[in-house]
């Protein structure tokens, strides 16, 4: 009996110890980033609003089909769409894992890339989404290269529902980046909208697997130039609430974000990518990008 009493007592004590292992958080729940050292600039008026498109390209340096996929994306971008096409190359899944030797370059943004890969149930690379609109006749947001051109044209033909502008202020001495965004609604809106901001980097050189000699040497492209690589985030994987409920036409939201740039990034090749999306359907309504400086 004494033995059991001791056992029960010990378990109860252990239980109480664990039970009180909880942290009750009192308001305020969020640390608002101090952006007082980021004065908000004047945004120029947008005289001719245009629909923009966010291409989220899932890729990886071990993916042999991916250089061909990226080539498709660049062809779309280089067509006469001007700056209406914004690309975010998301290096995710095992095909992006760094390996000892030539493939040691790590272009993944953990955990954000994997979270997007998982959330959109990407089955393999290359895949690309166009404003996260469903590929015709499927439930998939992300399609294979054969679907991309048509989807891009279809999305770009839509009328814009808002404008989205970015102005960056960068201090190269301290590597402090202030990113200011402004959205203006061109029509009343009742959607639950979120805004997501990422940092992308161009012109990173490394090895890339390849099986198409039209786009590079096979089986490895030794000096492949990676563009639009998703490198860092400002708002987490799925962004933050922009508006919730009714918003009147011509309403505007201005926000400022601040970040000290990672010393491993070449600021000259970095861009801030922002997009606004419907939190209920995931569809991107408008996107923008702007060089850090």
């Amino acid at each position: 009996m004494k033995k059991y009493f001791i056992i029960i007592s010990l378990l109860v004590i252990s239980g109480i110890t664990v039970f009180f292992s909880c942290d009750k958080i009192e308001p305020p729940y969020m640390n608002v980033t101090d952006v007082s050292d980021c004065p908000v600039p004047d945004f120029p008026d947008v005289t001719t609003p245009e629909k923009t498109i966010l291409i989220e390209e899932f890729t990886g340096h071990l993916c042999v089909y991916c250089p061909t996929g990226t080539d498709y994306v660049h062809q779309i971008k280089n067509q006469s769409y001007g700056n209406r096409v914004i690309v975010l190359a998301i290096h995710a899944s095992g095909l992006s894992d760094p390996e000892p030797g030539n493939y040691s370059l790590d272009l993944r943004l953990i955990p954000h890339g994997e979270e997007l890969y998982s959330y959109f149930a990407i089955p393999a690379e290359p895949r690309a989404g166009f404003n996260r609109e469903k590929i015709d006749g499927t439930n998939n947001f992300y399609g294979t290269p054969s679907t991309w051109q048509a989807k891009a044209e279809q999305v770009l033909a839509q009328a814009p529902v808002m404008t989205l502008q970015i102005i960056n202020n960068y201090d190269s001495a301290t590597r402090k980046l202030c990113a200011h965004i402004k959205t203006k609604f061109l029509a009343p809106n009742t959607q639950n909208l979120k805004i997501a901001l990422f940092l992308s980097e161009d012109s990173i050189v490394g090895y890339q697997k390849n099986n198409n000699n039209a786009v590079g040497t096979m089986p490895d492209i030794v000096d492949y130039v990676f563009m639009d690589v998703m490198r860092d985030d400002f708002t987490g994987t799925f962004g933050e609430v922009l508006t919730s409920g009714s918003v009147a036409q011509d309403s505007a939201v201005i926000r400022t974000y601040k970040k000290i740039l990672d010393p491993g990034f070449n600021a000259k090749h970095c861009k801030v990518v922002a997009y606004v999306y419907d939190a209920d359907t995931d569809v991107v309504l408008q996107a923008a990008e702007e060089k850090v400086y």
Binding site: S14, C22, D23, P28, Y29, T33, Y119, P123, A124, N139
Partner: protein, 555 residues
């Protein structure tokens, strides 16, 4: 293969054999008492291109899932592991299931009323509202806890449990640590005088705390989050009532949009059973009760708890199109079921008896109100919302009415007739922006036992619906030559789809062959896109067209 796992088993095997090598008799005894058991499952599919049904392109052409469980027992000692192989995983399974490894291994022994398990373990506290570690290969679900699991029965009728570890996360472990304990007291078993009383009472309580580091520049996040609950059960003759209440403190996460409201869940069940009659009434209310060991996890990843589903489940193809998936952020559900068996040799019972059952289940949102005039519901970094416990939300998530008639007419013929009415809120359950779906389905399931070896079963199903994919028809014929052969042909026809190009046939031809406990099956056909659910836990299955080979075996 994970070398840590290999090392772990090498130690166990060396330990066992080192005992034997030193003592020949010991070795003989060891071998005499040893028992090894296991099972194997392989599912591989060759994917055809089929843009009509929206089947995604599969660059690898052939995908596969395979696993094998090997268990060793020797008296009070047991150990085992599960080998898993996904190269690559079948469509519809999370692509993070990739590679080969031994993500599950354990060793366990029983001594002095203790059962101690090290390695991975599955367990459940009460109905699972605060803790359930379980696995379902068909769902691709496995949240086993890698650590220690201690169970002790210090006194007859008392069971104490303790767990401490990290959860499985594909071929890795989740970042959080899970600690928990549970105590259950079966009052009648504890006191001799009460042993044979018809009134039986048991009570229990459990608590679980998770720890995850937090270094977020924006949010003040709790590193330790606890959930706890109490439960009780009273039964008297054919009646039984049981209930459980669970509470969780602030747990801002991706699933709840990082709100700081506490969560709670209540489950109540009432059953009555007597010969020929069974009644079941249950209700569940959950409010912000997603509890994961990683605050950033989504979907089915790293669930610590489990929210039972009260929605009627069926194996019939057409009503299964609209299956309910539990909503951890909040739901109010209920189920009422009655089963009656007409006595044999009565007018309605006939020679073999007749069964009828009626089931009604419904899910609604919970009531949510703004915390103040300026803060929209579910706003990040706030308390999220207020909820009146006894008010049911207006939005209906799911409704299911089912009537089933089952009768064996004679030695050769058995008939089952089912009717289902299902209301399905696809926006909430699947995230599709579309009107609620109202479907009416009739199923006729007939089995003809031609002789002792040969039987023929056929299913005819029709679903009428105006919304969603519209109406469907289904027919299936199954021929079994016991105990070895099985053949089936089926077709699901979406003839009522409002888009004429989508009025497609989802045909399937299958055969299976069994040798002892080994079964090999081949299936060729189309699979529609949709969700597949077990007990309210769901995964999305994309459309597919191809040849599937399955092999299962056990020893």
């Amino acid at each position: 293969m994970n070398h840590k796992h290999t090392f772990f088993f090498a130690i166990i095997i060396c330990f066992i054999f080192s005992i034997g090598q030193g003592h020949a008799q010991g070795l003989e005894k060891l071998l005499r008492n040893s028992q090894v058991s296991g099972n194997f499952q392989f599912d591989g599919m060759y994917y055809n291109k089929d843009s009509l049904i929206g089947a995604p392109d599969v660059p690898q052409k052939v995908l596969m899932n395979a696993f094998a469980n090997i268990n060793y027992t020797n008296g009070p000692f047991s150990a085992g592991f599960r080998f898993e192989n996904y190269l690559y995983a079948l469509q519809g399974f999370d692509p993070r299931y990739k590679g080969i490894g031994i993500p599950y291994r354990y060793a366990s022994f029983e001594k002095d009323k203790f059962t101690i398990t090290i390695g991975n373990s599955y367990d459940q506290f009460g109905s699972g509202l605060v803790y359930r570690a379980w696995q379902d290969a068909s769902l691709g679900y496995d949240n086993s806890l890698d650590g220690i699991n201690i169970k002790v029965n210090p006194w007859k009728g008392i069971t104490l449990k303790g767990v401490w570890g990290q959860q499985r996360f594909y071929f890795d472990k989740g970042p959080g640590i899970v600690r928990g304990g549970d105590a259950e007291f079966v009052i009648n078993d504890m006191f001799k005088k009460l042993n044979d009383k018809p009134l039986r009472v048991s009570i229990g309580g459990s608590f679980v705390s998770k720890y995850q580091d937090a270094d977020d520049p924006v949010f003040n996040l709790p590193k330790n989050v606890a959930a706890y609950g109490g439960r009780g059960s009273i039964s008297y003759k054919g009646f039984m009532i049981n209930g459980e209440y669970a509470h969780k403190i602030n747990d801002p996460s991706t699933v709840n949009n990082r709100i700081y409201k506490s969560g709670n869940a209540t489950l109540l069940q009432l059953t009555y059973a007597q010969k020929g009659l069974g009644l079941y009434l249950a209700a569940i209310r959950t409010d912000n009760m997603s509890f994961k060991s990683d605050r950033d996890a989504e979907g089915n990843d790293l669930n610590i708890n489990y929210i039972p589903s009260l929605a009627k489940q069926t194996t019939y193809s057409l009503p299964s199109i609209y299956t309910y998936g539990t909503q951890p952020n909040g739901e109010f559900g209920m189920q009422a079921q009655g089963i009656y068996t007409f006595k044999k040799k009565s007018v309605l019972g006939g020679k073999y008896g007749t069964n009828i059952s009626l089931t009604y289940s419904r899910y609604n949102a919970i009531n949510k109100k703004q915390v103040d005039d300026d803060t929209p519901i579910d706003s990040t970094g706030t308390l999220g919302y207020k909820s009146d416990y006894f008010k049911i939300g207006k939005e209906a998530y799911y409704e299911n009415f089912n009537f089933e008639f089952s009768k064996k007419f004679n030695k050769t013929f058995k008939l089952i007739v089912d009717y289902f009415y299902i209301m399905y809120n696809a926006k909430v359950i699947e995230g599709h922006e579309q009107p609620n779906i109202h479907s009416h389905t009739v199923v006729v399931d007939m089995t003809f036992n031609i002789n002792e070896k040969h039987s023929l079963r056929t299913e005819l199903q029709h679903m009428y619906a105006k919304q969603g994919e519209g109406s469907w028809a289904y027919a299936m014929v199954e021929y079994t030559i016991a105990p070895k052969w099985f053949f089936s042909v089926s077709d699901m026809y979406n003839y009522g789809n409002s888009i004429s190009e989508k009025r497609l046939h989802y045909y399937s031809v299958a055969t299976a062959f069994a040798i002892g406990s080994t079964r090999i099956s081949l299936n060729y056909g189309r699979q529609r896109a949709g969700i597949f659910c077990v007990g309210g836990v769901c995964r999305y299955v994309p459309a597919a067209n191809g040849l599937t080979l399955s092999i299962s075996s056990s020893f």
